[in-house]
């Protein structure tokens, strides 16, 4: 990405220069026209790692449709408990205005007495853009997804629990869960349900094609929960009913090779005509030869 900025550094510097000129007359910086949107969220991923993500986007105060990402802004991520602040890491925003930090599953967090992890994201602020921060508190949940055939019914079983510091599992009382399957370009929701007492069971549809090997990747996810943030879990099952098209290697009008009869007819026509041309030319040579002999004879 950097390289691209450098590639166009002439244009960029030109525009920057232009900005300076206009700045003198109008307002201090471009950013003053924009209201900053600082959004912080956390996703617990399938390998139990945790993604922290900030989206930092400026929205034009006058024209709300005009949104511009803040690029290359340094974001600090903290784990807080009361007055303690533990720095988890730092990341810079991308061209989309996104800063991400991935924490591995063995990461130790400070948790409060109710079992919540307090997370904080912070932008220190510059002369032009004010300081921003955002906090969220989530419980560390474990979501498990199992796909089984029970009495030849394709069934999905979701279990959700939390583990406290001494290792005791507590089933989650209630949480909304979404079941979706992966497709090439997006995920398709197939069911919504509620986890009650740590468990949710669902019947899997029987008519999903899946990929060429009949594999289907199934996701179970909790989205934007006040208690758990975002949690996602996935499993693959060989439950697809993909009908692999038997590839007909037929010669068609639009394929590379033509239908056979076309070659045959064309060959017959061409051979016929060119054979005739050859016959004519050979005879012409015969005529010429005869004439030549005649000339030689008369000269003798």
């Amino acid at each position: 990405m950097k390289s691209n900025l450098f590639k166009y550094n002439f244009i960029t510097s030109f525009i920057v220069a232009l900005c300076f000129i206009t700045n003198g007359f109008a307002q201090k910086t471009d950013a003053s026209n924009y209201r900053m949107k600082f959004k912080f969220k956390t996703v617990k991923q399938k390998d139990n790692s945790r993604l922290l993500e900030v989206s930092f986007i400026g929205q034009n105060k006058k024209n709300r449709k005009d949104k511009v990402p803040v690029y290359n802004a340094e974001i600090n991520f903290y784990n807080t408990l009361n007055e303690d602040e533990k720095l988890l890491g730092t990341s810079k925003t991308s061209k989309e205005g996104i800063a991400q930090l991935v924490l591995q599953k063995n990461q130790n967090y400070l948790t409060d007495k109710n079992g919540y992890i307090n997370l904080k994201a912070e932008f220190k602020g510059t002369d032009a853009i004010d300081e921003e921060d955002s906090e969220i508190a989530v419980k560390d949940i474990n979501l498990e997804l199992n796909l089984k055939e029970i009495d030849s019914v394709k069934t999905g079983i979701i279990t959700a629990y939390t583990i406290d510091s001494v290792g005791v599992k507590t089933p989650v009382e209630e949480a909304e869960v979404i079941i979706s399957i992966k497709s090439m370009l997006s995920n398709m929701k197939i069911k919504e349900g509620t986890i009650e007492n740590g468990k949710y069971e669902f019947e899997f549809p029987t008519d999903i094609p899946g990929d060429a090997n009949n594999n289907i990747i199934v996701y179970s996810s909790i989205e934007d929960s006040d208690d758990f943030g975002n949690v996602i879990q996935e499993k693959s099952a060989n439950w697809g009913v993909f009908k692999k098209e038997i590839k007909k290697n037929k010669n068609t009008l639009w394929s590379k090779a033509a239908p056979l009869w076309m070659y045959i007819v064309l060959t017959i026509l061409l051979v016929g005509v060119w054979a005739n041309y050859m016959y004519t030319i050979i005879n012409l040579f015969k005529i010429s030869k005869e004439g030549k002999e005649l000339i030689l004879n008369s000269e003798e």
Partner: protein, 330 residues
């Protein structure tokens, strides 16, 4: 024989590496897709050919949109582009009830394919089925037919149909005879009539999958953006439509998406009476239309454009009526 085999395995390995690269890209793109699709999408819509960014010190900078061939190392060469993405069969569904001629699909496509103002792979036409029915906006890409007349008539095989259903053009093979243009009943193809500076831009290698850079004296058309599909992204038009008119997906998976909702293709077609345009011609298009029933917007909403664009529709009787009633100005 042996030599051939080793060569084959070499290219196989290369393809494998390529695919690996692509799929890792897909994962990265995928994670951000879930969370940021809306914000990214809107950002692209508001900008022109460049992306604007704010720097931490409050300055606005413009950088080139990196849409075109973001991963040149994964370039698909003309020879490889003939094969198609394995086990896929791409299909597009256009919901005519939702189209309000915002033209974002056209603009997104033009940006992505480095097209000029009047060069449109996606055209939005105003179609009136009969005198009694109201006209409707009709976005028209290439239909990527299963019996493509354009491919049939091509004398050099410059245009071809791949196993994944996509019909592409290799502009390094095209001799510019324009026979494909006359045989396409949907006027989907464009010709490069004269030299242009952008043809000389060799900063990225040519691929039939991106059609960039275009070449003088050759034909081009909508390509279903296979370069984006390989990255797990929607084609430019579907990405940029604010109304979610354009659904795209793999017919084998039976799943299509417009970026907001993801649905079963067969259900969408069967529940909503999906049809193909000019079905009787027997070209078997891979673009389906959902009829313009319960239209979400009055037709007049589609007239918020340059005069240059609006004048295209002035011959439609309904539009003449609107002009008479002074509902729209031309």
């Amino acid at each position: 024989m042996k030599k051939q085999e080793t060569e084959k395995s070499k290219t196989n390995r290369r393809n494998f590496l390529k695919l690996g690269l692509m799929s890792s890209v897909t994962v990265v793109a995928g994670t951000s897709l879930i969370s940021n699709l809306s914000s990214i999408g809107e950002e692209e819509k508001t900008s022109g050919e460049k992306v604007r960014l704010l720097t931490p010190d409050g300055k606005m900078v413009e950088v080139d949109a990196e849409n075109i061939n973001k991963y040149p190392e994964a370039l698909i060469t003309p020879a490889e582009a003939r094969k198609g993405i394995p086990d896929r069969k791409f299909v597009m569904v256009i919901d005519l009830a939702k189209c309000k001629n915002a033209r974002k699909c056209v603009e997104g496509c033009q940006k992505g394919h480095n097209l000029d103002y009047h060069e449109e792979f996606m055209k939005v036409q105003l179609i009136q089925n009969n005198e009694e029915s109201d006209p409707y906006w009709f976005p028209k890409p290439c239909f990527h037919c299963d019996e493509p007349p354009c491919v049939t008539v091509c004398p050099t095989g410059a245009t071809f149909k791949r196993d994944d259903g996509i019909v592409l053009i290799d502009n390094e093979r095209c001799i510019g005879c324009k026979f494909c243009m006359t045989s396409c009943p949907y006027s989907a193809r464009e010709f490069n009539w004269g030299p242009k500076n952008k043809f000389e831009d060799k900063s990225q290698p040519y691929s039939p999958e991106t059609q960039v850079p275009a070449a003088e004296g050759t034909v081009m058309k909508c390509d279903f953006c296979p370069d984006l599909l390989r990255q797990g992204k929607l084609p430019y038009c579907a990405q940029s439509c604010p109304m979610g008119v354009i659904y795209f997906g793999d017919k084998n998976e039976d799943i299509v998406t417009n970026g907001e909702e993801t649905v079963r293709f067969s259900e969408l077609i069967n529940d909503r009476g999906g049809y193909r345009y000019l079905e009787h011609l027997g070209t078997k298009p891979n673009v389906y239309y959902l009829p313009p029933v319960n239209k979400q917007f009055p037709l007049e909403r589609g007239f918020d454009h340059d005069k240059e664009i609006l004048e295209r529709y002035k011959d439609v009787p309904y539009v003449q009526e609107l002009i008479k009633q002074k509902k729209i100005k031309l």
